[in-house]
């Protein structure tokens, strides 16, 4: 048979790293093909090569049996490929339709025909069940919808093969289900979808076949129906991993973080966090659950001093930090793993080691009277890279060469190293492979057992249930419930997250 797409012996070397090592990949027409592998296994690199972003060092690419050589993504698009990157490339001030038709605008008498553009985009969106308003401005749209716009962009260019790099990492469970629906429709319409993910549940739910990458090599090509998560994990890591284990219990102690009546006003003077009050005690992990956009991010940013709270009080280890700036809060004993690892958590243009130093750079151990002890800095860097198994060619190289998961590890390693009384962890395992998730979970539990207080926000309910001592549920800016993870299950928490219990109470 002819494959829709075939890669043979693809190799890509970076200084000190063999990102892809003679990879073979065969994708059949109208199939959903999952690609899995640990952080740094070479998934993104392989897809970028396929999409013509840079050429492979060795190896050939065939599309429908014909050998192709792309010198840029434009060639790949012309050959019927479409790629949705993990972060989006859209013009925020333009409308959805304008973004979709960009550079291939329908024309009438030499001018762009806006009416036709909107109509075509609407038509395309309807056909595949992509709920988008073509006339909405991109900057007003939530992430899940932006992703649909990116998919539309690819479909508008008539992509036969759609490549999605970790598309579900930024989606809520509802949005993920909608995306799966779209992917299935695409397959039923004869298109091919390549799909990168770290979540084996998703692999099982949606893919027809799965290719496993490990250390740059393709180590397995499996038919999904004939395999199971355990086998895939074994191929990925060479060992078995158990994620469902619940954290052993631990007796909480004194309050470390005390929040009272905290209200944060958003852009339009509307309260995005309403009168929040809670405590986090030493020796406990408090998990915040909620559908994305219900005030979790704003609450955390206010606690860390990145935005100002409107009213309320925040105490950390008995000290009032309500008006302190970030530096003051950090000094008072707080470390913070931010949700946005690209824009906040790391500095793209700085090196790996400079990134690991952020926030540690004034500590007595690495500097004296304002001058760095370079040996100590190197030791700190080396230790964090080793303990968290950060895969990097060189620590003095730019951090932007790290894979998504390894970048996340940089942030997590650095912030946990502070060993502060309070750790705020926002989506701590986003983009990590299962081995790394297991490791970060065990580190969080150790943090707690050593008397640390952890406040965690996560879109993964399983993570919240597995780790938390208590669960706070946020809905429309308010904390609407405090739950005991021993007595609730996922669907129940889900109900609180959608505000369903409130309606029940009214009725």
């Amino acid at each position: 048979m002819t494959f829709e797409l075939e890669l043979r012996g693809i190799t890509k070397r970076y200084p000190g790293v063999l990102a892809n090592d003679a990879v073979d990949l065969a994708v059949r027409p109208a199939e959903i093909h999952a690609i899995v592998g640990e952080n740094g296994a070479g998934k993104t690199t392989l897809m970028s090569l396929l999409y013509g972003l840079f050429p492979p060092d060795e190896g050939d690419i065939f599309i429908r049996g014909e050998r192709v050589e792309f010198s840029s993504a434009l060639d790949a698009i012309a050959a019927g490929l479409g790629m949705v990157h993990q972060s989006f490339k859209l013009f925020p001030t333009l409308s959805v339709a304008e973004n979709v038709v960009f550079r291939q605008e329908p024309r009438r008498r030499g001018l762009i025909d806006r009416v036709a553009a909107v109509a075509r985009v609407r038509d395309l969106a309807d056909r595949y069940g992509l709920a988008v308003d073509p006339e909405a401005a991109v900057e007003d749209l939530p992430v899940g919808v932006l992703q649909r716009v990116e998919i539309l962009k690819a479909l508008y260019r008539d992509a036969q093969v759609l490549i999605l790099d970790e598309p579900t990492a930024v989606l809520t469970p509802q949005e993920r289900d909608q995306l799966f629906e779209v992917i299935r429709r695409l397959r039923d319409a004869g298109r091919t979808v390549i799909f990168i993910t770290h979540k084996l549940g998703e692999v099982m739910a949606i893919s027809d076949r799965v290719t496993v990458l490990r250390n740059g090599r393709a180590v397995a090509d499996l038919v999904t129906a004939e395999t199971d998560p355990a086998e895939i994990t074994l191929h990925m890591t060479g060992r078995a991993v158990d994620l469902d284990r619940r954290a052993p219990e631990h007796q909480p102690d004194q309050a470390v973080l005390e929040v009272e009546n905290l209200t944060v006003l958003g852009g339009h003077g509307r309260a995005v966090v309403k009168d929040a009050g809670f405590q986090v005690r030493s020796g406990e992990i408090v998990g915040i659950a909620g559908v994305a956009g219900n005030g979790q991010s704003e609450l955390i940013e206010a606690l860390c001093g990145l935005t100002e709270a409107d009213t309320g009080a925040v105490m950390l280890s008995g000290r009032d930090i309500t008006t302190a700036d970030v530096a003051g809060r950090r000094a008072a004993g707080l470390a913070y793993i931010p949700e946005d690892r690209y824009g906040v958590g790391t500095i793209r243009r700085a090196s790996v080691s400079e990134n690991l130093l952020i926030g540690h750079h004034r500590e007595e151990t690495v500097q004296r009277r304002g001058w760095f002890d370079r040996g100590a800095v190197a030791r700190l860097t080396r230790r964090l890279v080793e303990v968290f198994d950060i895969k990097t060619g060189s620590v003095s190289g730019p951090v932007s060469t790290l894979s998504g998961g390894n970048l996340q590890k940089v942030v997590v390693a650095r912030e946990m190293e502070h060993r502060t009384p309070l750790l705020i962890a926002e989506q701590p395992t986003r983009g990590l492979d299962i081995g790394a998730i297991e490791f970060v979970h065990s580190q969080l539990i150790r943090y707690r057992d050593q008397g640390g207080a952890v406040l965690m926000v996560s879109a993964e309910l399983s993570e919240i249930l597995a780790l938390s001592t208590r669960i706070l549920v946020m809905f429309e800016g308010s904390i609407v419930a405090t739950l005991d993870p021993r007595t609730v299950d996922e669907p129940e928490v889900g109900l609180y997250m959608t505000g369903a219990h409130l309606e029940a109470a009214v009725a």
Binding site: H85, K153, V326, Y342, G343, I358, W371, F372
Partner: protein, 364 residues
Amino acid sequence: MLERVLNGVGDMSRRAVRSPVTFSLLFAFALAAAIVAVTGGDPLAAGGEMFTGAVTGSGLRNTLGRSVPIIGMALAVSIAFRSGIINLGGEGQMVIGGLAGTIVAIYVPGPGYVIVPLAMLAGAVVGAVWGLLPAYGQTWLRLPILITSLLLNYVARAITGYLVRFQLLDDAVTLTSTRQVPETARMPKMPIFGGVSLSLILVIVLVALLWMVYTRSVAGYESQMTGFNMRSARYGGIDVEQRTVQVMVVAGAIGGLIGTHLIIGEALRFIDGELVLAGFAWTGLLVSLLAVNRPIPIFITGMFFSALQIGGLAMQRNAGVSWRLSQVLQAVVIVAVACRLAIRRGERPSTEVSDAESAAVGEV
């Protein structure tokens, strides 16, 4: 071993050949040669005059002398740029600091080894204050430094103009100028290449110091990280406002030092409007951009621009080609480097981009 060394050399030369700076230089010189040829001159002769005029005899002395303000002002602006601060006020900081230094040099009696350092100190302090104003404007009142620092240049000109005209005027000459700096209060010259100002040593020390600061100090690290990404820096506990103030103080102080040097080491009189004529602050800005704000490249580039200007004057004298051609050269180098950088940025594929950045990017 030998192979590794050879490879290393090969690698370096390959990088040098591919570097946008090399390309731009070649391009600029080719264009300049073409202009000379088209206007009926002899490009080779002009180039020869330019070269010998810049690096031989008194030309070498002049090149070294002129490099002091160019490199100095480039260093001043580079530290601001590195922290992401657009300080366009170098000129004002230089002028007002320069007048302060001049006043000390003229009116405070004492031996040279006291007065010269004292004058430099006065220049630095007043320059720093002039840098402090826009810094506080930004941190307290949210007025962008870009605008206030630029506008303060005109204020500095006006203040110094007033002082020179109405308070410090030397009636003995027809210039609108202060008195001459007394012999004892002048910046000494070193007995090399026919007398090069001691300030060159000051500039070299500054280059070394800044290199140290940016490679191994906490202050340098914090400034650089702030320049890379202000949000991340703030998140990491860096007091961005405080750093802004510090950076503007240091930048202003360097400006004031250079301004003082230009009077007590070169012109010897503060003539109204004269300090801004040569445009050192702006040449320095271009040098800093070209050298991507790094101290050692700034030293090299600054020397080169200085040689270009001095050589241009020699070329006009001896080959009859206007010295403005070296200005054209300077401009073409800048534009070419900017273009090349922009093109290369476009080429580099980035697999994962921050949301903030991708917001600005379009289709592939």
